[in-house]
Amino acid sequence: MSVKYVPVQWNKNKWYYNFFMVAGVAGFLFLFLYVSPQLLSHEKSINPQVHNARAFGACAFLMLSIILCIGPLARLDKRFLPLLYNRRHFGVMTAFVALTHFGYILDWYFAFSKSSKYETLIFSNTSYGQIVGFPFEAFGLIALVSLLILATTSHDFWLKFLTAPVWKRIHYLIYVAYISVAAHISLGILQDQQNHAFTAIFLVAALTVISLHVIAFLHERKSGDPKAQSDTDGWVRVCEASEIPEARAKIAVLPNGDRVAVFRMDNKLSAISNACAHQNGPLGEGKILRCLVTCPWHGFQYDVRSGRSPAPFTEIIPTYKIAVRDNVVLVDPNANPPGTYVEPVEVPA
């Protein structure tokens, strides 16, 4: 959104967001680190390094689980969209918590020998051919590297530089990370512990994450955006003009798989790409605020007629030629170059 990049963009909502996030993480860590030792009636206490490693590891797992719930929840219920808004801060914090877990483990289980701790991490346990006793640290490492790539490429610069589709493909690593974390836990601590409280929490969290994703996918398939029907001259039918409410859009999937969003503003229709220039958020699920289409994800705005962000912003998105015939909205599926002005088509209220 910014004309010039800044390290971190802040606003009041992000402060609120981070307040709750930090409160949860601080509450978790405080009770785990400082209160739980008093509850444990062990003759000899657990080593602080192991205790800390467990605290940060369990915290990272739960944070990752919450993060992975946000996407599908926002698809199923739009009220959760604000949780998506500042998800990157949540992700960066998770990466730091996971890194702390790694640090405690590395400096304890893999330190104090004659070899470097990075080498011992690799050669200490090489029982790759078995399930019980498998070097589950390897899965933790895959997850950590994935989380670090996600966290370090979360600045908006990367979105613009790599383009949203490439960036998004990289950020699918979140699924790799979660799968690896699940394997890391299943073959690690779950093999070991006798008290099954964490096992139960792990199972509920993982089950919630995978069910929400599957449900959101099925929901999207059932009530996702309809396909545009082909019409004459290569144009396609999107919907009936009367179906589009004022300041909102109808989305249709074009034959090439792209999506067009047809907006109504002051009873005139305009067609733009459904993909926001920022993170390819679904513009058609957004709303026109003060004459500007506003993305539901991060609030990027565009003039609906030209697909251009208002000055001083410079984002541009493709527009589509549009026509209305017998109340049916037609668009030319060949997108105009980003930022091309198209005269809106007047329709009755």
């Binding site: 010039k4 790539i149 589709p165 490439v166 699940a182 093999q191 995978i210």
Partner: protein, 125 residues
């Protein structure tokens, strides 16, 4: 242990190349290919860790943008269809992993009595 040394060296070299790429990219490249970065310097250190990790991708994009090969339309093709694959892969792999993990879990064989198979040589039981 030589494999471990080689792997650690590989990572070290990876980061060293990343450092060189970061230096060149943040001093020279970024201003050439992104107008939003011109005159913005404070955010640049934040970009360094990312370059260290994925520098080959940085070099590729730099080259694409520098040589005018960038296809501006490519920005508007979201990868939404991949979610289904990701969701189901995640669901299946995690379920299988957890089942394999928990079903192979060992319990401490607390009831096992040590068995003396034979007496020491030269003695009788």
């Amino acid at each position: 242990m030589n494999t471990a040394e080689a792997l650690v060296d590989f990572v070290r070299i990876w980061f060293m190349i990343g450092g060189v790429v970061a230096a060149f990219f943040l001093v020279i490249g970024i201003d050439r290919i992104d107008e939003d970065a011109r005159g913005a310097y404070v955010f640049r250190p934040l970009i360094v860790p990312g370059i260290l990790l994925i520098w080959p991708l940085v070099l590729w994009r730099w080259w694409v943008l520098e040589t005018g090969r960038d296809n501006p339309d490519a920005r508007f093709h979201p990868v939404r269809s991949a979610h289904g694959v990701a969701a189901f892969s995640m669901a299946i792999i995690i379920t299988v992993t957890v089942i394999i993990g928990l079903s192979n879990r060992q319990e401490w064989p607390a009831d096992f009595e040590p068995v003396r198979l034979s007496a020491p040589e030269g003695t009788s039981q």
